[in-house]
């Protein structure tokens, strides 16, 4: 009756008990509600709050849970009789409560009785947030500005959600498996595709056919230099590279995030191949260096170093790689961070600003080569992070007169023109930190240039 099937109750109970051990106040978490697209009855696909999903397990609409001492109380209204006509039979409050292992279940009207002294996390939509504030009878800033007991709750949840239990990893593996199938399909259809939209459609169809959704707006582009491209109308031409950053989200909300870059014609040009192999070398070096206790910032700087050294070798940069990284010269071509947390959100807990990504007392650097780093913590077993180095020729950076002035002595601009067919390359995998090191959860999708070429060309044996 409930779809997707609820997670094992012992997992949910364990998460609630862990929260209780870290946070003594009672907690109210809202699941969120449908958001109107162009008119109230035409809504976007519902997405439950990730904090709610973590403790409740199911994407329920317009529901509130009360957590205290490891016990969950459910607040929901029964479906109206008319709802059965339009939406079919709904499970009753008692049935939903049983699925969640609720201590008790009440109508939403009973919430005020339970709201005293409760901490919460603000939802991102203004209407929900104002409902939360009204019930709690206090102003409620956005989640990244939480204060008082809400800041305490935030800190406790961050500790919990930073590392994943086995049930979470199982769900992420499911999402990743579907993303891998989508990328294989994308590579396989590229030679027949007239434009980016056709490749995107084929990739997302794999995700939708498995009852999943995309975890974020897909990037499927021959303009890899536009980092967050959400246009899909460009023609796909034989000399182009196709960059696809497409990830599935399981029906339970757990995300994946995967990028591959492949040659439209099934064969990298020598310049494309040289840069591809360099980005892959950075990717592999980062993963090899991952283990508990290592600073993620150092993983980022390692990628920067590998890329700087490779660009020196290719004659694109001049100087000593360590000095180049100190001067942020790598960021001319690798301007973003090496990755981020992954979990129920594709940038996990980014609704909390940097409170999840940055260890206590740390904050964003204003350095050109570090400011976009989304994660600055020592790695811990059970964390899942992305590793996604890249090389891009972004006009807004490379044509900026100030940057050109600043880096005039280290860039070989003439040599760079030989690489005009490399607009953007990114290779991204989802990596679990283990006791021993790291496990690439998305390793079934090959990264090596030859293997990628084989899938695009249709000569892949697997």
């Amino acid at each position: 009756m409930l779809y997707p099937p609820p997670p094992p109750l012992e997992i949910l109970r364990d998460r609630r008990n862990q929260l209780a051990a870290k946070f003594l106040h009672p907690v109210l978490l809202w699941s969120g509600q449908n958001l109107a697209r162009n008119f109230p009855a035409n809504t976007y696909p519902f997405r439950a709050s990730s904090h709610f999903l973590y403790f409740a397990g199911l994407p329920l609409r317009s529901v509130v849970i009360h957590l205290q001492a490891g016990q969950l109380r459910l607040f929901m209204d029964e479906a109206s009789p008319g709802a059965a006509l339009w939406h079919g039979e709904s499970p009753t409050r008692e049935e939903v409560g049983a699925c969640l292992g609720a201590e008790a279940a009440y109508p939403l009207a009973d919430l005020p009785v339970w709201s005293a002294d409760c901490a919460t996390i603000a939802l991102p939509d203004a209407h929900s947030r104002s409902q939360q504030a009204k019930l709690l009878q206090r102003p409620l800033p956005a989640a990244d500005q939480a204060e008082g007991i809400d800041a305490g709750l935030t800190a406790a949840i961050v500790v919990l959600r930073l590392t994943h239990d086995e049930a979470a990893v199982v769900e992420m593996r499911r999402a990743i498996a579907v993303s891998i199938a989508a990328h294989r399909t994308g590579m396989a259809v590229t030679q027949q595709a007239p434009n980016e939209a056709a490749i995107r459609a084929a990739m997302e169809a794999v995700i939708v056919s498995q009852g999943m959704t995309t975890a974020y707006s897909s990037i499927v582009t021959v303009h890899g230099d536009v980092l967050h491209n959400d246009c899909y109308h460009h023609e796909v031409r034989p000399g182009d590279l196709l960059l696809a950053d497409v990830g599935a989200e399981a029906a339970t909300g757990w995300a994946s995030d995967l990028t591959r870059t492949w040659p439209v014609a099934g064969k990298f040009s020598p310049t494309q191949r040289a840069i591809y192999d360099l980005v892959l070398a950075a990717h592999d070096a980062c993963i090899a260096a991952m283990q508990p206790g290592v600073e993620y910032r150092d993983i980022h700087l390692l990628a920067a170093h590998v890329i700087a050294a490779g660009l020196v070798e290719l004659g694109l940069l001049r100087g000593n790689p360590a000095d180049l990284v100190d001067r942020d010269a790598h960021a001319l071509f690798f301007p973003h961070g090496i990755g981020h947390l992954l979990g129920l959100d594709v940038h996990d807990m980014e609704d909390l600003g940097d409170r999840a990504g940055y260890a206590s007392g740390r904050c964003r650097s204003d350095r050109f080569g570090l400011g976009y780093l989304r994660l600055d913590r020592p790695l811990q077993p059970g964390m899942v992070v992305t590793i996604e180095p890249g090389f891009y020729q972004v006009p807004a950076i490379l044509q900026d007169p100030n940057r050109r002035q600043q880096y005039q002595d280290v860039v070989n601009w003439e040599r760079l023109t030989d690489f005009a067919d490399v607009r953007g390359i990114r290779i991204e995998d989802d990596v679990l930190v283990t006791e021993m090191g790291a496990e690439v959860l998305s390793k079934e999708l090959p990264t090596a240039a030859e293997a990628i070429e084989a899938i695009v060309a249709g000569s892949d044996a697997a």
Copy 2:
């Protein structure tokens, strides 16, 4: 530089001049902004306000237009320098203004200077609405509760948007052509599909591959009795009927809305065929009766009459069809309205409540057989409406003891058990009212049972 390509300026100017002729106050229309999905940076695909799109033509984010005396003034902020890194080059304010045929273009900070005495239409999201209210320095109720000058603007826009100019019809034809291709694909993949999700994925892929989006949440189900089914996990079995209500929306925002019902095995059973032909007879009778001046409510009642008469003939209802419709007995099996307005919204202007759908002075009936009618106006040339009769066995209706009591003398419950393999059938087309009668814009997708069977079975010549 702007995608999609902007519509012809003379069309936009004509719409603005028509508004000026009907409404003397200055008008401010907001395009709307990105809405967060699970965290602020992970947004749903942007959808501009339909009222904004009607006069501005382009799906621009976080933009406001000021309309007065046929002149448009654009208010937008230039993209930040950082935006070029993540999202590529953006057109400048002046370039966008030129595309829109703007008299002048200003930063958003200049809006207060222009906001005095302006009417507006409230956006559905709470954050946007509060921004509108703040700027206008007055409370702003939801769009369906508009008062004062906003009610006047609403009335003027309703008159304009009720009938479509040629440019609008061209865009709807485009969306419809893509929907037709999606339905053909859906039929063709059904026999190989393990479940509803696989069929949905194939249909939506056609839409995405053409650079369009779905105009509403697709209904692709073997449980046609759940009218707005948004689950897709059911297995698809040979004896089932597959009901697909899937419509594309052009990049410019213009919608289509199309439903077909087909036999999974490629052949209707005799009972399925009998009901299918009855629903089709109602569909055809409605379209044949459409012409300017005819009340849409009478089209609905005609469908009810055809269905009641057919059900008497099949031995499912007893009595005189006219009496049965008077008693709402048809609504036991056809509980919704015959259709609705179609335009920039799939239920066009439904953000305005019934102010668009219901002629002045009219309101919803409380009759079981009329209460769900979304449109109650005389037809006018240039209107586009859906015609979508259906037959459903909805447990919430047919198992309701009160309904069974009320209709015990007119329903042959035993005979109904013979039709257990007909959970739900709907046939929906998009129809333009012309001077002479009506044109089915979606007529390239066949409705006849044999033609549908042929596509599903793969023996369709076309």
